[in-house]
Subunit: 175 residues, 2 copies
Amino acid sequence: MTEIILFVLKINEMNYQEIASTMVINAWNAEIKYTNATLEKISDEQLMQEIALGRNRGIYLLGHLVAVHDLMLPLLRFDEVQHKDYRKIFIESPDKAIGNLPSADVLRKQWHEINNKLQSYIDSLPAEEWFTRHSSVSEEDFVKEPHRNRLNILLSRTAHLSNHRGQIVLLTPNT
Amino acid sequence: MTEIILFVLKINEMNYQEIASTMVINAWNAEIKYTNATLEKISDEQLMQEIALGRNRGIYLLGHLVAVHDLMLPLLRFDEVQHKDYRKIFIESPDKAIGNLPSADVLRKQWHEINNKLQSYIDSLPAEEWFTRHSSVSEEDFVKEPHRNRLNILLSRTAHLSNHRGQIVLLTPNT
């Protein structure tokens, strides 16, 4: 009896965990796709421009996105950070505070590399694993706040990417 | 026996439906809060400016957000659209195509009204109801694609709001 209940429970849990993780992963995939399409319309020269007068340059925003997505690797308990110095350059420092940023060419390559790396982990994570804690919440706190899970990181980073994509798109040719 | 299984199933479903809906509702609430804080820093005069040279004006983006959030009412099966003409003005038409837009004052008021209306429905919707279909998917299709639910609308509109907030913030005074 208990075994049957546990089995049915397990099947059912999977169902809602799968629906919810599919929703968030689809939103993430779409946002990555839109951002890549936007970046393809922008030349390296245009990427050096400010998105609006006196604001961040495209190159800084691209580096910022690389840095934030890189940090998702440890946060999602997938892997180690790949570019340790990027937190300081692209998150803790504002644009124009650091003289020599990596080139547009290098950042574009790293952008695809980090997303491909994330994607391989995302695609292979079982649905129920998305509902386990991310690395910056303690096991104690997680019991009280089960929404602070790995899927929530993917959800918040999707909105973060959408926010900066809305800015980077301003560098595309004005039609 | 069947009754016990169904009861335990129900409790358990609630659990994952509640965790997932809490995650998405929290993200939505945060995005609304950030957007309101941004709008408060922008004067009505600044709202009439383009977010970048030759791009949409703040006033158009605010109207666009009112129109998109208004359309969430029928899409989420909450209520009827409040501003029927806004789809044409702020979604189907680009900025500057229509001469007389509603004033900043009117749009700010409608922005808060529509979000407050949405919020009251959002706050009172039971977790399991978030996993029922939204109004633009048929019952047949929903069986095959259960992720096309009401929660998915809230998720995609959160990213949409974040996208335009990243643009509207460019109208705040440059510090």
